[in-house]
């Protein structure tokens, strides 16, 4: 019998080799208690969280938590059904109304995760003779959406406006085209030139989908994302987002002004053939989304945190993913996986959690220590974080 698991042997060996050196497994950490959006207990130790995507710190907001408890009491623990059968409760509609108000758009559709929102939209709207033109550094959920559908897939170089334009011009003018972009690319924390990219896409007659997972609540005057900040949100056909970052729970969505948008509820398989979100989750999401509308002060503080961490890490001598802070993600570039894992462990021992990111999730085979800031990180905490990076960096020889 051929063992179907043989294909995983190289990865199993790489993991074993890394763990044999005595390092803590960076992909097996347990949060034993969570005290706040910025602090948890890991291995019995108080740990500052700097890798959670909890950008706006909504997970312990008293109004959000109360809404979830109330929904548990009123509607029970789960819907046990699809959105199109028994799984649409009042709370799902309230949540979609909150999204329509947040984005000032006509339609909103809530999925069970952000991954499924991308999977659903991309695989459903682009058919066999249509083209999907996407940035090569797109998130796995975008590539998986392409793989689930059967459109023709055309990648272009990361954030390269000319590469996108050239490819659009080579495609048949009459063919259906969907350009898929992200506002913030989560590995390096860099922002897309959406103003130019949306313009060349529209000029070529393409529809545009922008994943704003890492910018919602934080970037743009109303927190609607990079498309808002760059003044092109009106030309974006579909915005994909998630509840598992700034909103502080789990779930995904798409908002749009397309007049026929609602038909997707019947034809989008990752929407139809899965259970809807539990009532408590949509209640916390709706409450959080409404509070994010009036969070200008928190947005300003998060920018301050991002700028200070970026400048501080650079001063310490770390190589960073972007020359200037462009989002709430600061990526520290490690020379290789071994050094990255050692640095990750040294930071954990100091009392700091960051994400260790490695290929294939990262571009160009890079190993990254990815830091995502929270609006609730205090000035003192950012100071502590920089002190921990200095100590861990010297202990592991990453900086001198």
């Amino acid at each position: 019998m051929a063992d179907l698991f043989s294909k995983f042997d190289p990865l199993i060996q790489q993991r074993e080799a890394l763990l044999e050196t005595g390092l803590t497994d960076p992909f097996n950490l347990v949060m034993e208690r969570v005290e706040s959006p910025t602090v948890a207990i890991c291995n019995g130790k108080r740990t500052i969280l700097l890798g959670t995507y909890n950008y706006m710190g909504m997970t312990f907001d008293p109004d959000v938590v109360a809404a979830g408890k109330q929904a548990l009491d009123d509607f029970g623990s789960g819907t046990t059904g699809s959105r199109v059968l028994n799984g649409t409760y009042a709370g799902h509609k309230v949540c979609e109304e909150a999204l329509k108000d947040f984005y000032a758009m006509d339609h909103a559709m809530v999925f069970s995760t952000g991954y499924q929102a991308n999977l659903g939209l991309i695989s459903t709207i682009a058919g066999k003779d249509d083209y999907i033109i996407l940035d090569v550094d797109s998130h796995a959920s975008i590539y998986d959406g392409c793989a689930l559908g059967n459109a023709q897939i055309v990648p272009f170089r990361h954030n390269d406006i000319e590469a996108l334009d050239k490819r659009l011009k080579r495609l048949p003018p009459e063919a259906g085209k969907l350009v898929v972009l992200e506002g913030v690319y989560s590995m390096l924390g860099d922002v897309a030139p959406l103003k130019e990219m949306v313009a060349v896409s529209k000029a070529a007659g393409a529809m545009v989908l922008v994943d704003e997972a890492h910018s919602m609540g934080f970037i743009g005057e109303h927190g609607r994302g990079v498309a808002e900040a760059q003044g092109v949100i009106g030309d974006v056909d579909f915005i994909i987002g998630t509840f598992s970052k700034s909103v502080g729970t789990v779930g995904g969505f798409c908002v749009s002004n397309h007049p026929k948008f609602e038909i997707l509820r019947l034809v989008c398989r990752p929407y139809v053939f899965t259970a809807s979100l539990p009532p408590s989750v949509v209640a916390t999401a709706a409450t959080s989304i409404r509070k994010l509308m009036d969070s200008a002060d928190k947005r300003a503080h998060l920018w301050e945190n991002s700028k200070r961490l970026h400048a501080g890490l650079r001063q310490l001598g770390f190589a960073l993913g972007t020359d200037a802070p462009q989002s709430a993600i600061i990526a520290v570039i490690m020379p290789d996986l071994e050094t990255g894992a050692a640095m990750w462990e040294a930071l954990l021992n100091e009392g700091l959690y960051v994400n260790l990111a490695r290929p294939p999730a990262t571009p160009a085979g890079m190993t990254l220590l990815r830091c995502s800031l929270c609006a609730l990180h205090s000035e003192e905490q950012v100071g502590e974080i920089l002190g921990m990076f200095a100590a861990a960096g010297r202990a592991t020889g990453c900086i001198s």
């Binding site: 392409c146 023709q152 055309v154 990648p155 080579r170 495609l171 160009a364």
Partner: protein
């Protein structure tokens, strides 16, 4: 329109900067097994080829192309279709 020999010669020339193993290129050379290219190298190389010949090689097409000869055949078809 370039003939097949010209397309082949240009393709071989464009493989060279990515030919880290110094493999002798023939029609039968396989990108994954012989050149040991990973997906990122493929993306870079395909982008260069697309710009050189002013064509699009979709990921769907790439999945069917294993060897240099197959790429040249595909390019010949794409260039002819472009007119």
């Amino acid at each position: 329109m370039p003939d097949r020999q010209e397309i082949y010669a240009k393709t071989v020339e464009m493989i060279e900067p990515f030919n880290k193993k110094g493999v002798a290129i023939t029609e039968a050379t396989r990108f994954a097994q012989d050149l040991e290219w990973d997906s990122l190298t493929v993306l870079d190389f395909v982008a260069n080829i697309e710009d050189e010949f002013d064509v699009i090689i979709t990921m769907n097409m790439q999945a069917e192309i294993e060897t240099v000869g197959q790429l040249v055949d595909a390019l010949q078809r794409l260039i002819a279709a472009r007119g």
